[in-house]
Amino acid sequence: MSFVSRGFARRRREAPPGRLPPGQYDVGDGFPVLSAGPTPRTSLANWDFRVQGQVDEVRRWSWAEFQGLPRESISVDVHCVTSWSKFDTRWEGVSVDTLLADVVTAAEFAVAFSDGGYTANLPLADLTGGQAWVVDTYDGQPLEPEHGGPARLLVPHLYLWKSAKWVRGLVLTLDDEPGFWETFGYHNYGDPWREQRYAGD
């Protein structure tokens, strides 16, 4: 079954061992932008972050309250389903563990929702245990709107479409409910190391 593209050879530099998932390439210093619609405009005065759905009580933080939460610095590799990966990206924000700390829930899933109507679904277990953050800073600077500012979700162990830009909250759910790209044929889970790009992968 092995197929070779006649005359094709690698042109990009080799990535450090174990860093590049299958089918990905190292984009280097670039940081491509991909999104499905216009960049939303939300003033920080109107911004809040909510945890709702199957919860004992809805949690809500204004921008100022969110800024007062314990912060973490994160340096991670990120992987986009369109095949670029970017190494050692540096972010700052609040761990989802912090946001869910006192929440009583029977939920096993979550849907992240964003300004502009975007959603992404994830198992709750992938958002906890130091695996996910709501970040507002990239490379020491406020996160630019085209990269998801004022704040985006960061779940680096899954393809980047799960790291919802312009995130405004999480809906905790008992059942898994597909998000935006997941309803358009993209993989429900999106593990780059298993190359789960599209439904059925």
Binding site: F3, V4, S5, F8, R10, R11, L34, A36, R197, D201
Partner: protein, 248 residues
Amino acid sequence: MAGTAIRRRLSWQRAEVLALHRETRRAWRLSLRPPDWSGHLPGQHVDVRLTAADGYTAQRSYSIASAPAEPGIELVVERLDDGEVSPYLTDVLREGDLLELRGPIGGYFVWPTATAGPVQLIAGGSGVAPFLSMLGHHRATGHPRPVRLLYSARTVDDVIGRAELEHQPATVKVHVTLTREVPAGWTGLTGRVDAALLAAHTVSPAQAPHLLVCGPTSFVETVASALMDLGHDPGRVKTERFGATGGP
């Protein structure tokens, strides 16, 4: 929308290269015959995968430029000099070669069918590719809905699909604007797409058009923002972007 069609597993297949045409200075058109193809929606793309003798693979996404009713599929490939996949497709690939691909992919940035109303397409550079598929589909179906394309190209020699853009039905209006060089006798638009050009040459918000914007990131960002300033509903603006270094 076509939920069943895009839910089936996408398997890699080897398409025969039927033809390669240099379309402009930097863009080539590939005609391909995938052995197992159940059709596509105008606006969908394919993933192309190249495999080296040592097993190394590289894959990229390319929009389908041909209409669903045409046999096979056509892709438009812009040659990026420092790229890995596009120079292979434009310089090395030959008629009769096999090219691995899978698709069609994507059910979002597609021709709107659920509702009627005018459609406004806005393209920057090779971002016109999915719109060529949409216009071909529109022409083939003979639908009366009005369609407009505003297409920004560097020079007249960079206009992809020039011949077919000049032969559109009465329902379609095409505006090309040139941003770098303007030849003598050019009667089209000139200059970059900005709020003034959009206000003058695109469907107004009052007509509630579907808007599809495709091109490089900076182009899409500028256009989408200007469309919101003009009063278009952000929910009716769909975008597809090619990153500066992440695109095809």
